[in-house]
């Protein structure tokens, strides 16, 4: 596999935990382009990613998997296709406390449609412990409506274990017979 394919993309709406998730799993201090939010984003959090987040999982012998987080605001969507080039899979994080998580799911899946159809998707639902419904099976039904299949897990983006399991789900979806 060429060097360019060693990349996993994290996407999702503002405040869904992309930066935190990359920080949880990265072997380096992540590089973030966080700025104080000035638009509607500031109602959800003080700082927001404006270009990308970047982290690394080191595999030894100088081999690395690069982790890229997209900015959440839709006005940065021109960056999404650039960042996803060469990715092996997409991690979509959805915040359960947002007004319309189904709209978020539909929007991001449509935005990354071409990528998802040729690669693999996994979905993590964040903040679900703060607010239910929707429940996990609601997300499963919504994904069915959109015509896609993917693992969907509850995720605490601060938990390395949760983010690791999410990535394991992504990799096993690519190849259930992976040997460790």
């Amino acid at each position: 596999m060429s060097q360019i394919n060693r990349k996993i993309i994290f996407t999702g709406p503002v405040g869904s935990g992309k930066t935190t998730a990359i920080n949880s799993i990265s072997d380096i201090d992540i590089v973030s382009t966080n700025k104080t939010a000035t638009d509607m984003t500031k109602d959800r959090k003080r700082n927001t990613t404006v270009a990308m987040d970047y982290g690394i999982i080191k595999l030894g012998n100088d081999e690395k998997v690069h982790l890229y987080g997209t900015p959440g605001q839709q006005r940065f969507d021109f960056m999404w296709s650039i960042l996803s080039k060469g990715g092996i899979g997409l991690v979509l994080l959805l915040d359960n406390t947002r007004k319309d998580p189904f709209h978020d799911m539909r929007f991001y899946i449509n935005s990354f449609k071409e990528f998802i159809e040729t690669h693999q998707l996994v979905i993590g639902i964040t903040q679900i412990d703060k607010q239910r419904p929707p429940h996990l099976d609601d997300y499963q039904n919504w994904l069915d409506q959109l015509g896609y299949k993917a693992p969907i897990f509850e995720v605490d983006a601060r938990s390395r274990e949760d983010v690791s399991l999410l990535l394991q789900g992504l990799l096993l979806s690519l190849d259930p017979g992976i040997s460790e």
């Binding site: 998997v65 509850e154 995720v155």
Partner: protein, 433 residues
Amino acid sequence: MNNMNLQFPLKISLDSISPHSQAILEFFIKNSGHHYFSLTRERALADLHIIDLDYPSSKQQWEKNKDDKPCIALAMKKPTEEGVLWVAKPITAKALIVAAQSIVSENKESTEQRQLPTSEAEKTQRSEEKVQPSKPVELAQQKTATIPQRQDQPESKIDSKAESIKSSATKKEAKRKEKAEREIPQEPEHLINRSHPPFTSAEQAQQRWNLLCGKENNTNNIITYQPNNYFLGSLLAANNLSQRTNQVVQIKYEPHQFYILYNDCLIFSPLTPSEESFTTLCQQEVKPGQINLHLLNTDESNKVKQKITTHREYCNHLEYFIWTTSLLTSQGRLATTIKPKQTYRLKYWPDFTRIESFPFSMKIAALWHDQNYTLQQIAERLEIPINYVTAFADAANSFNLIEKGKATTGTTKQGKKIGIIARLFGKLTNSGT
């Protein structure tokens, strides 16, 4: 700021606080926060107060009762109230500890200043500062590395003594913050039970997996069982009832009681799935009438919810509880409702971040997801003992995750051995997860 000499643990009183915030604080103070805080019911004895500004009428209470003691204000948004230290919701252990350190540090500085001889001018200045309205102080929530900003301004020489002292104080403060960051764990604390505690040895793990999946079975001999003859049957019935009615359902199985709150995805039970006695409870057959279900009325539900706020340690994630109960009951056997020769497909993956895993469980899900296989076919394709497949099928069936499908001969998702994916998978599975 009051004149007390504050030191850890700080005695705190909780003012106008929601049951949810109170539960989080009590859990935190009981566990990792006990070095920093202790609770007191007497407001007068407290070193500081904690108030929940999102709680109804809390602002009026604050205005009415406020004194010169420090106050931590929990709120979703930055409060307009003066003289409070803001801790943003969701509350984290880190933010509370940083707040405590900040209060003690500020108190120490002001005590030291009070002890120093001061000139009249300084006294006047301090007096003026005192009457300045104090604004709510924000606490940083998240650690992020940032791309260094370009330094367009030329560095100016710092030659005055005052600037030197200021710089030294800033550095000291930065060091203190850096130290605090290092000392505070980044991982969240889990307020409910959602998995088995970590194993201390490979033997211990294998023993647990034997309990969950039975001993390795490399034959085609599948043993069946009837879930309704066990606690599992009542648990599933109670879960359905709670889901349909949106109410709390109690399972009475003397001497134990379990409360199912489907909407909160919780089971409240002092007996947790990781205990040995729970395994015994799951594995013994029940007699007719031994287990009773009771739909709680509003008063009873409120009492249970009150108990939940004070005993978060008895809260279990619903899926974890049902999944493990199912495994401990089946031990690699198959519920009579699942036919060994029938092909099934897994409609959805189980929520692997909230269930107890066992060997090959994720691989089974990945292979079986939306693909039709018999249990034997899965075991053969993954080259694993059949008992792990029957255990998985049985537990997934408890959540209605499997359904009958037509036999297929497809080889989808097989044989893609991509080196870096295998190496990444190996790294993730060997890093304590």
